[in-house]
């Protein structure tokens, strides 16, 4: 065992046993971040904060929520909203954060794509991030069902039905997932477990992994300049702070994050108090009724783009059913982002504005995703169905041509 001398302070006592000084250096004061970043790099801290809000507000909600089909709706809309002191505040914080977290995830994701932060050495950052996105999606979906409202019930019906499209085991798979032949009490109880325990634990693990993946390749920067972090860190430590291209995570980087967080929280709490409705579908304030379908069934806004890819293929092609084509496209849409680092064939890490072809590709993708999102909510009839089809095709084509476009960009640069 190491030798312990009498400590003169609590800090010293802890340092002797936990090596807190070294830990603090590694994680905070000598964890180097490029100086050339903009506010988009604060999205990570915003996400961590929003996740924190979700966990804490969720704990309070869990104290009063009842995962039972006969009690769930009233436990949320009466007990939590009306009886529990400030229950409404925790519910609105939770509901709004669940929606806003996806907005920030998307901004975070497209920042990464725009600046090429998924490439050459940073693949694991991207992959762990996409795994986080998928787990957040599962958590969002399972949580959406818990108040047992009419829209969430039927959304669950539609989404669980999709697994019926899996060859051979499809039907059995649907029953296995629901725990019943229908979306019923067994489904609610297991979704409750997934939402409050298993998925949050997985998310926490993935957040740890995501942070860890940044350690060796380091954070990217606005111009995607390849920085020698060791050399720049030495400059900084020798007092040459203005010339050094890096800054420590604490306190320089975090001070900017907190400033951005301040603005974000104003926006977030404005929504919580004055515009919480946007995150809560009015149809969900009707209790679930398995005898009556809502006039229009659609998921929450953050799933609309992939839902529209699913719905976009509305006609059979030869012997292949529309449902199967849609399902394959849906699977493609949900998996393809994971492969992005390998579809991008440009050997250099560069921001989009320095890659002409890719730049066009990026903005078309953005517009296409918005079109998919908007049309994902509209009834899929008449012209809407064709807009859905074209934008879904465009989405798939964009990813098929990405290797060619990125290679052409590299060639033009003479790389």
């Amino acid at each position: 065992m190491a030798k312990f001398t009498k400590a003169n302070s609590v800090g010293e006592w802890l340092d002797q046993r936990l090596n807190t000084t070294a830990l603090n250096k590694v994680l905070m004061t000598e964890y180097w971040i490029p100086k050339d970043i903009n506010f988009l790099w604060a999205m990570g801290v915003l996400l961590a904060t929003t996740f924190g809000i979700l966990v804490i507000s969720g704990l309070f909600l869990m104290m009063y929520y009842k995962p039972d089909v006969n009690l769930a709706f009233d436990s949320v809309n009466y007990t939590i909203m009306q009886e529990v002191a400030y229950g409404w505040l925790f519910r609105h914080m939770h509901g709004v954060a669940a929606s806003v977290v996806f907005l920030i995830i998307y901004i975070h994701m497209f920042t990464g794509i725009y600046y090429g932060s998924y490439k050459q050495g940073r693949e694991m950052i991207w992959i762990s991030g996409m795994l986080l996105f998928m787990t957040f999606s599962a958590a969002g979906f399972s949580g959406y069902m818990l108040p047992w409202g009419q829209m969430s019930y039927w959304a669950a019906m539609v989404i669980t039905n999709l697994f019926g499209g899996v060859p051979i085991i499809g039907d059995a798979l649907v029953v296995w997932i629901r725990g019943d032949f229908n979306v019923a009490d067994a489904t609610l109880t297991r979704f409750f477990m997934l939402h409050v325990f298993l998925l949050p634990i997985v998310i926490m693990g993935l957040i740890g992994l995501h942070f860890y993946t940044l350690r060796i390749p380091h954070v990217n920067n606005q111009s995607s300049e390849d920085i020698d972090f060791d050399a720049e860190a030495e400059k900084y430590l020798s007092g040459n702070k203005k010339e050094s291209k890096v800054i420590p995570f604490w306190p320089i980087f975090i001070s900017k994050d907190l400033a951005v967080l301040g603005i974000f929280l104003i926006f977030y709490f404005y929504l919580v108090f004055f515009h919480y409705n946007f995150a809560m579908d009015p149809v969900n304030f009707d209790p679930a009724d398995n005898m009556v379908t809502p006039a229009h069934i659609y998921p929450e806004w953050y799933f609309l783009w992939s839902y529209e890819v699913l719905r976009g293929f509305f006609f059979d092609v030869g012997p292949i059913k529309a449902f199967d084509i849609g399902l394959a496209a849906f699977g493609f849409a949900n998996a393809i982002f994971l492969l992005l680092p390998f579809l991008d064939r440009d050997p250099a890490v560069l921001p989009a504005y320095k890659r002409p072809g890719f730049n066009v590709w990026f903005w078309i993708l953005m517009v296409d995703l918005i079109v998919l999102t908007v049309y994902g909510k509209l009834p899929p009839t008449g012209i809407n169905a064709w807009v859905g089809f074209v934008s879904a095709m465009l989405f798939i084509i964009l990813f098929l041509v990405l290797p060619i476009i990125t290679k052409a960009d590299a060639k033009k640069r003479g790389a």
């Binding site: 809309n77 909203m81 009306q82 203005k242 320089i252 400033a259 404005y270 108090f273």
Partner: protein, 290 residues
């Protein structure tokens, strides 16, 4: 400057998406309907006649009290709610407050032909008849007298809850109104109301949130506008009574509104102060490195 440009791009894309999935999508899914008509211009009402309340009193007592109670005037219900519902399909309303709740033109038209005035003739075909018979055999003056009598006995003021109870609670429950006591359940027992209406009328506890105020106004004024063929009658509420109904639904369904609106600004003021200090701290830290 560059950061502001980036922020502008993020904000514009966010707002376009928001506009598309909220205002735009909802305008597509819920077509616009005409504004509520509180004059009930389409009904065959009083026709400009002025009623005589004293004459109306004897007419009402002779024609109406066999089925309707008028508690205020000493006519108690002839049977309990369950028996009345079994006999008529639905509990007949007490007439004490009818003169206040319902528009006079509508009331006259309803006495003449209930199914027509309430726009539910589609329900009463193939030999089925509205539980209240039509009084269109009476003289228009007599009907005007009865309306005048009902108006003369109506209370000056009613609470929001009283209006809701008299106007809606025969068919609709609003259980969050008295979650523990259960007194806000529908007065007509479930099996009877289900047989009469074709389905169980919904509990209205959360309707202020699931339908929203403006939908409720146009819907209560004329249910057929939003749900063509619905079994719910047009009840003929005056604008004031309807506002009280919706206000009660808000008191019950969104009871923490006042608390929310009081706390919100304080939260935001605190956050603005936090943001200012955060930016000052940021500026002081980054001065060293720029």
């Amino acid at each position: 400057m560059r950061e502001l440009k980036i922020l502008a791009v993020v904000v514009v894309f966010t707002l376009i998406t928001y506009w598309g999935v909220e205002p735009f999508a909802h305008s597509q899914m819920h077509p616009h309907v005409e504004a509520a008509d509180y004059q009930f211009k389409d009904v065959d009402g009083l026709g400009g006649l002025k009623g005589d309340a004293a004459n109306g009193a004897s007419l009402v007592q002779a024609n109406c009290t066999a089925c309707h109670s008028i508690n205020k005037e000493g006519f108690p219900p002839v049977m309990d709610d369950a028996t009345a519902a079994a006999s008529y399909g639905v509990v007949p309303p007490d007439l004490s407050s009818s003169g206040k709740l319902y528009n006079a033109e509508y009331l006259a038209a309803f006495i003449k032909n209930p199914a027509k005035a309430s726009k539910v003739e589609h329900k009463f075909v193939d030999g089925r008849v509205h539980p209240m018979p039509s009084y269109d055999w009476m003289q228009p003056q007599e009907i005007a007298d009865m309306v005048a009598y009902l108006q003369s006995i109506a209370p000056e003021k009613m609470t929001n809850k009283e209006v809701f109870t008299d106007a809606c609670q025969r068919c609709h429950g609003i259980k969050y109104g008295d979650m523990k006591g259960g007194s806000m359940a529908a007065k007509t027992p479930n099996e009877h109301i289900k047989a009469y209406m074709g389905k169980l009328p919904p509990d209205l506890s959360q309707y202020i949130r699931s339908r929203g105020e403006s939908y409720l106004h146009t819907f209560v004024n004329d249910p057929q506008k939003h749900l063509e063929g619905t079994a719910m009658p047009r009840v003929g509420l005056t604008q004031e009574a309807e506002q009280q109904v919706v206000a009660y639904m808000q008191e019950v369904g969104d009871s923490k509104k006042a608390e929310r609106e009081a706390l919100g600004p304080k939260f935001l003021i605190y956050l603005v102060i936090f943001a200012i200090f955060a930016w000052l701290w940021k500026a002081s830290k980054w001065r060293d490195v720029h």
